[in-house]
């Protein structure tokens, strides 16, 4: 008992700094922002602050922009499955025992590693519809193939592969094409495919018992069959982790892309919830409303994570 209490004191001493920071900068703010979401708090103090009940949340549900930006956020997550399966595919390729294959791993890792403002600026330049190298390359390719094709306007176009209309939640065939959101998705896949997910898959692949695969091959199983019934189930925990983290990241993502590459345009098509919150909180200083949007975003993350746990646990049972 005495030892227990002494331990508690020691623990508090060791945990102290970390706990202080945790309470002051994470847990405290979390509750604080929940409280703020029920007020009309504006940092400019031009309006007297008061509790407004659920007014922020009800006006949020009626705010057309919120739904549009939620749609944009989801659209910008469409690259995710490609990035995840691409990583897995790359990991399998890199798993082969060939001399010097480590060099490829490093090269493929560079884009995700170098990501950040510099890379966004680079892609903004690459995507320039008139003198950017992307369209330059495409034009050469198509003239060599004798195909007539108008090069995409990339970051300047509201078009998209789902033919969504800008500023509306409807579909219009004239909007079909490649535009800003697709450009950001392509870039996202380029950045993520050789990144951390690939490393995680590489590590997980070492845990797949090779004896099992060899035994199955001796029994005449095809490599596809080996993959679906041995490798893939063994990778399930990793896939599950990657999926959860990607969804969490995707739901709160898109800020840097919007801020650096598009200012959220054209016609608001690249404004995600994260950028919306930024502009509400730090450009208009509407702390109350911004907190409400942030908590709704948090709600989505929670739901996605919980759904993943349920689904993931069930999937794990099949192994």
């Amino acid at each position: 008992m005495k030892r227990q209490r002494r331990n508690f004191r020691t623990a508090l001493l060791f945990l102290g700094p970390s706990l202080f920071g945790f309470l002051l900068f994470t847990a405290g703010p979390l509750l604080f922002s929940l409280g703020a979401s029920f007020t009309n708090w504006n940092l400019q103090r031009t309006i007297p602050m008061r509790f407004v009940g659920t007014a922020n949340f009800t006006s949020l549900l009626a705010d057309r922009r919120f739904w549009l930006f939620l749609g944009n956020t989801l659209y910008l997550m469409l690259g995710m499955p490609f990035a995840i399966f691409g990583s897995l595919w790359l990991a399998i390729l890199l798993k082969r025992k060939i001399r010097g294959i480590g060099v490829f791993r490093s090269l493929l890792y560079i884009p995700s590693f170098a990501s950040g403002v510099a890379i966004l600026i680079l892609w903004k330049t690459l995507y320039n519809p008139d003198f950017g190298p992307v369209n330059d390359g495409l034009r050469h390719l198509f003239s060599a193939l004798h195909v007539h094709w108008d090069a995409p306007q990339w970051l300047q176009s509201t078009r998209n592969l789902a033919a969504l209309e800008p500023e509306k939640t409807s579909i219009n065939r004239s909007q079909f094409g490649i535009g800003a959101r697709d450009a950001i998705n392509f870039m996202g896949v380029w950045t993520a495919i050789g990144g951390n997910n690939m490393l995680l898959y590489l590590a997980a692949l070492t845990n797949v018992p090779e004896e099992l695969i060899e035994a199955a091959q001796l029994d005449g199983a095809s490599s596809t069959r080996c993959f679906t019934s041995i490798t893939w189930p063994h990778l399930a925990p990793t896939t599950f982790f990657i999926l959860v983290m990607s969804i969490i990241g995707g739901l709160q993502g898109g800020f840097e892309q919007a801020k650096i590459m598009t200012s959220g345009g054209p016609a608001g098509t690249t404004t995600t919830l994260a950028y919306f919150i930024y502009s509400l909180a730090f450009e208009q200083y509407r702390i109350g409303y911004a907190s409400a949007v942030a908590w709704v975003l948090f709600g989505f993350v929670l739901i996605a994570t919980l759904a993943n746990w349920r689904f993931g646990n069930r999937a794990a049972e099949y192994i």
Binding site: Q4, A11, L19, V117, N196, Y278, A290
Partner: protein, 277 residues
Amino acid sequence: MLRNISRQTLLKNAGTIALLSFLAASAVIPLLWMLFTSFKPLQEIENGALLPKSWHPENYSAVFRQVPFARYCMNSVFVAAWVTFLSCFTSAMGAYAFARLDWKGRDSVFKLYLGTLMVPGVVTMIPNYTLMVQFHLMDSFTGLIIPSAFGAFGTFLLRQYMLGIPRALDEAAEMDGASHWSIFLDVVLPLSKPGLMALAILTFLGSYGSFYWPLILIKSESLRTLPVGMMVFDSIYGRETNLLMAASLMSLVPPILLFLFGQKHLIRGIILGSVKG
């Protein structure tokens, strides 16, 4: 039979290498374009050739002339160094309490830590910003460093690592009458070095690349970090693509150096961070 298989493997390997070469090229070509463009004169930017006709290394010095680029770099490295140091230290202490000490409520507090890992940054960012406004820490390095100096993620990562260190060692030290503080410093920390290295690299990179927080907090030019400085550079000199690419490339040098020297640790850190307790 044996020869047959090896020929088949050889063929398959050649295919893999070809495929990987293609993929690696698509990963690297944009960065090569960046490199070559940074040496072009402005008139050559739109001509579509990858290589410059004439090489202009003076583009790099022009970057330093047009914006206080060296200062941005220095600020970024400075802030990231402090954040790395403080965050590794507080995380290691916290991890010790979670991994090495038995106390009431430990597991619930740990779950709380773990739970906040999925809280979107913007949720806590808004109150933290008002906190900085209240404390008059806006537009200061202190405001950049302190809120990032305590990471729940670091505590989690190091706890994972420390759990793997055999307890017999610190129990032996405890028998010898060593205090927890000296067990922590002399036994556990030295053994956690690989974990600490991994965390240090990840933290440094995270802080070096962080954009949102400096963007909203810093207003003086002399306090800007690289990502914010790059954004300003892009908005003012955005049409001088060659200079922009030179600046972007230079901003990638510290992370690339870290990658070259710390690849092993980095990979360990990423894998460690993905194993939930």
